[in-house]
Amino acid sequence: MTEGPPTVIDDNPGEHSLQLLDNQFLADLRQQMLRFALLQLADHALAEDAVQEALTGALQNARAFGGRAALKTWVFAILKHKIADTLRYKQRVTDASSLLRSEDEEQDFSALFDARGHWPADERPGDWGNPHETVREGQFWRVFEACLDNLPGAQARVFMMREFIELESDEICSAVEISLSNLNVMLYRARMRLRECLDSRWFMEQKSSC
């Protein structure tokens, strides 16, 4: 065994790793991770712990990464596992009553539909085109993050558990102690709200500017 461990690049640590470890980049990354963890765990100390562990683990091997995108992918993958572990372990992190109490969660979408439950002409969803095209625009992610931030806390939490961490419905139900039908309603509302926000702030804007 004359070769070093495959995950560490020995001979050219200089420029590349310096770029990776740029302070501003790390600060931004940490902020993104923290927001993500906080939404999931609803507990600042737990979120800080998860982020710290994920970041420390990833940075030990930072030099092995080909670039920032790869590093980011990696730390978020680690973070997702940390969060999933924490959620499974501490099932009472978020109590159901606080999850369902907030008034903001109560808004229903009957107003979106007409009396017969159909789309009014001006609310009818249009064609969004290919999402892979959409995400090439750097600006899009800013809108996406703003729309995520707009979701009421509990909706954001279950939505992210489902779509970011890819937990199954029954896992989410037991983690936050809500019924399946409650979960379905919350996911529906989160998706409706996110859809509406992306539609009005991005897709319609794009159309009118062409």
């Binding site: 992918t73 017969r116 789309w119 969004w128 995400v135 779509e163 379905n184 998706r191």
Partner: protein, 67 residues
């Protein structure tokens, strides 16, 4: 016969569980006649794809080659 509100509920749930045969049939019938809900269906798929891309770290490029 489903209306759009019920159809969107089912389309959301289809992201989380397999629909029953009956649900799939009534939904299909509705989608055949309703462009809005067909687009909504596509958009649900887009939101899932976009979210996955976001999680995979395809966040705003820090380099300025796009701006």
């Amino acid at each position: 016969m489903l209306n759009c509100r019920e159809a969107t509920r089912l389309l959301s749930e289809s992201q989380d569980r397999p629909l029953t045969l009956n649900e799939r049939m009534t939904l299909k019938l509705h989608l055949m006649m309703c462009t809005g809900c067909r687009n909504f269906d596509q958009q649900m798929g887009s939101i899932r794809q976009i979210t996955r891309l976001y999680v995979q770290g395809k966040q705003p490029p820090e380099d300025d080659s796009h701006s």
